[in-house]
Amino acid sequence: MSARTIWPGIAIVIAFVVGGILTFAFGNDPITAYRALLSGSFGDVYSIASTLVVTLPLAITGIAVAFSFRSGLFNISAGGQYWLGGIAAAWVGYAVKLPAVLHIPLAMLAAVAAGALWGAVIPGLAKAYRGAHEVITTLMMTYIATDFGHYLLEGGPMQAPGYTPQSPPMQPSAIIATLVPGTQLTWAILLVPVIAVLAWFVLQRTSLGFSLRLAGYNLRAARYAGVNPVAAVLTALAISGGLAGFAGSIQVLGVDRRLFDGFDPSYGYTAIVVALLARNGPFGVLLAAILFGALDTGASQMQIVANVPFNLAGVIQGIIIFFIAAEGLLRYFRRRRSAPAAEPRAAAAE
């Protein structure tokens, strides 16, 4: 096994060690803290279910981001598409009357469409025709999505009667059934591996996926290969956004059961960490999503039991992604060891 293969694992270890030192520095026992983290996330069936509740949207947004990465695009804000998906699903969920077999799929479909449009139309067209980098446009679209959601809920058309900024509750026919009684974990969790396989299959085994990967590797070569670059950008962002929107619908229909003001777009950022940690592989995404789901869930337990602020989870996330980005360290160490041999500078110039 090469150092590069296990590098994500090393990054995780470094992050937890630094987190432990930080905990210790503020007068808490890192062992106690991490034990609380572990028991809060995997200690019993309820905590495992809670972990999976967070894993669910993270995994799907993670796949969404990985899909965009593989297509050479940086959908940095799956969070905005997630919000839009939540809005669309919520509206279908409370405003439309249908039997459950149709109601849930329709709400999900609406969410996928909303996320796809939010992700593809403005950032996609801006990128394809105006060369605007999707990193900033999708970031801005996230803030706009959040403000738009708040507008709908704070005295806007989706606010339920009363003063609380929230939508009316979902109709029973739109609620995804619970898998583990007494928890918020729904049957939707079973969809996650299916989506992972599907995304992988599309990228690796279909001509659509091949054309998106070509565009991702090298747009000039892709054009030469006959790929329409505008279509490739729009398609990739639409699929990525659609997946993120889908995650939003699962959160609203399965967990929140109405749309709240505090609907959280920060999954979008964690999703990036998930995708990068997994090196954009669909199955790695599942593992990484479980890790971050556990971190998120266990962190509140850690705060209660060990008095360590839950923000430690963010510190650990940040360090992990930092070291993933700093993979160049490996090369640095390798070269240090074999310094005299390597001088490739001008060999290629000949």
């Binding site: 507008y151 923000n311 430690l312 940040g318 640095y332 500078r345």
Partner: protein
């Protein structure tokens, strides 16, 4: 129309623009040297926290200000090390700094201050009433009374402009961002130049953070930058990678926010719709419907001296 005549609108536009403008200035430094700096958001946040922490510890806003500069620079060193020496992807490394900064400031905030928040007796930077300037009709109410950092900003802006376009250091910054191999061939230590440009960017972004926490207010709350660092990055682009341009772009965003505040009571529009304005303006700016420019040629590309 009355709204536009209200000096408060223009005065607060300036106030709201300055934190973004500081960060954007940092963005100009680092992007001119070829490093895309999405980490500005995190550096602002760290600067904002350090400013409050040290200001309240030493009962001096000025010490807080210096702490913010140093904290921003230190954070930038981490970012610069990764992007320049380890050739990390600029966007991913920047995002890492942003996530880390949010987590770390949240952690420290909760560990040190907890539920009570930062101490209410934290000093803030003084408001300066500038003689003469404040007496000018029309402009006086807009420009005459501001927190100290507004005036300091113009000093920093002037110096930055001079350094970037009139000194050897500035020439080297611009050169390594355009074509690092050529700079290398001319004997410029490319990596070192990039590194210090990014560190300078961090110091300035730290000032922007300090302006938020001890310039305008005297407190810190987690996540208080709310994307200003990202907007600053857009201001860099909109401002054509020039110090003055980025300031004017920041002013536009400040104006959009100020307008949304001013209209809140009067107009029938939801404040949430108005709050979208700066973000929409940013997208319009990026798509070139409001001016269009070219980036430094090697912006965002890690430089490997051995290839």
């Amino acid at each position: 129309m009355n709204v536009l005549l209200n000096p408060e609108l223009w005065s607060s536009a300036l106030t709201l623009a300055i934190p973004i403008a500081f960060a954007a200035l940092g963005g100009v430094f680092s992007e001119r040297a070829g490093v895309v700096n999405i980490a500005l958001e995190g550096k602002m946040l760290i600067g904002a926290f350090a400013a409050v922490a040290f200001a309240s510890l030493f009962h001096s806003a000025w010490i807080g200000l210096i702490a913010a500069i140093l904290a921003g620079a230190l954070t930038a060193m981490l970012f610069a090390w990764a992007t320049v020496y380890l050739r990390a992807d600029h966007i991913i490394a920047g995002l890492a700094i942003d996530i880390l900064a949010a987590g770390l400031t949240g952690f420290l905030f909760n560990s040190i201050y907890g539920q009570m928040g930062t101490p209410s007796d934290t000093p803030s930077l003084p408001i300066w009433h500038v003689p003469l300037l404040r007496d000018i009709p029309v402009l006086g109410p807009v420009l005459g009374h501001h927190e100290a950092l507004v005036y300091l900003f113009f000093l920093v802006l002037g110096v930055s402009n001079w350094v970037l376009f009139r000194t050897p250091i500035g020439l080297r910054w611009r050169a390594v961002g355009e074509y690092p191999r050529a700079a290398d061939a001319a004997g410029v230590p490319v990596l070192r130049v990039k590194f210090w440009a990014v560190v300078a960017a961090g110091a300035v972004a730290g000032l922007g953070g300090a302006d938020l926490s001890i310039g305008i207010l005297n407190s810190f709350s987690p996540g208080m930058t709310t994307g200003r660092g990202f907007i600053a990055l857009a201001a860099v682009i909109f401002g054509a990678w020039r110090p003055w341009g980025s300031f004017l772009a920041a002013l536009l965003f400040g104006f959009a926010t100020s307008l949304s505040f001013q209209l809140q009571g009067t107009a029938a529009i939801s404040k949430n719709i108005l709050l979208m304005l700066p973000y929409i303006v940013t997208i319009l700016a990026l798509t070139g419907f409001v001016g269009r420019t070219t980036a430094p040629a090697a912006d965002g590309q890690p430089y490997d001296p051995e290839r």
